[in-house]
């Protein structure tokens, strides 16, 4: 598997560290309530299909990335800088 880092270009999977669902970029407000926080911390979908995950290019430039990929075909559809994604959410 190869990931197209927006800064470094196409790199081998072993340079990257996997964090988990990109939901981590959408942290709820401190007073959002127990249910919202419970879902944010613990409840994850496990889709056979498209997922959005946080990866870090640890062995390269160090950038955090949002990788959209398919768990069935292993195709990587999109790679964006997490900082750009976060800015777009604001």
């Amino acid at each position: 598997m190869r990931i197209e880092c927006p800064i470094c270009g196409s790199r081998d999977r072993r340079e990257f560290y996997y964090r988990g669902d990109a939901i981590a970029l959408a942290r709820p407000a401190p007073d959002a309530g127990d249910d919202v926080w419970d879902a944010y911390l613990h409840l994850r979908d496990n889709p056979a299909g498209e997922t959005r995950d946080l990866w870090q290019h640890e062995g390269g430039c160090g950038a955090w990335l949002v990788v959209t990929r398919d768990t069935v075909t292993h195709a990587v559809h999109a790679v964006e800088l997490a900082s750009d994604v976060k800015r777009a959410m604001a």
Binding site: I7, C8, D12, R14, E15, E58, G59, G60, C61, G62
Partner: protein, 178 residues
């Protein structure tokens, strides 16, 4: 009075000659990490003080004794001079001169040696003199630059001996097949 003698991080392990390839320690002078928070301002200040521009990703710049290496996202490494105070307005400056071990790999088999250690394409058709990248040599985080004469390899100082061991093994394998 005890006479203290400066040693490279590699001690007696380098230089290493195997086949027609060599690895030698390099003393580049002061190494300063620039944690960039104002790209345009820092590039101007760098040019004014040291004559080098802030490099684009995967590039390096050089002027006289000063070199500036791209070192990661919003990071550069100033090599050689003591950084001018004016730079501190545009970047966090950290002296890491003793934190990194620097070696240069030379010889006709150098590309083949690195092909055994790094998961990136370093052939001269895609990686030219002055080009730089951050990757891994086996499990070691490394900075790799192609110079006019070979490859400049930077790893954490604590991994200097491991770097020599990995290079030795790869150089022996490459030399035995030539």
């Amino acid at each position: 009075m005890v006479e203290l003698k400066a040693q490279t991080p590699f001690g007696e392990l380098l230089p290493l000659h195997i086949g027609d390839m060599t690895v030698a320690a390099r003393d580049l002078g002061q190494l300063t990490v620039l944690g960039v928070f104002d790209r345009a301002g820092l590039s101007k200040a760098l040019e004014a003080a040291h004559g080098v521009a802030l490099p684009e990703p995967l590039q390096s710049t050089a002027e006289g004794d000063a070199q500036c290496l791209w070192f990661g996202r919003e990071e550069a490494l100033l090599v050689g001079p003591t950084p001018d105070e004016a730079l501190a307005k545009h970047a966090a400056l950290v002296d890491v001169s003793d934190g990194w071990a620097v070696a240069e790999l030379q010889g006709p088999g150098a590309e083949d040696v690195l092909a055994r250690l790094a998961p990136v394409d370093l052939r001269d058709s895609v990686f030219e003199p002055g080009d730089i990248l951050r990757s891994q040599l086996r499990d070691m985080p490394a900075s790799i630059t192609r110079t006019e004469t070979g490859f400049l390899l930077l790893v954490y100082r604590s991994m200097a001996a491991t770097l020599v061991q990995e290079l030795r093994r790869a150089m022996e394998a490459v030399a035995s097949r030539r």
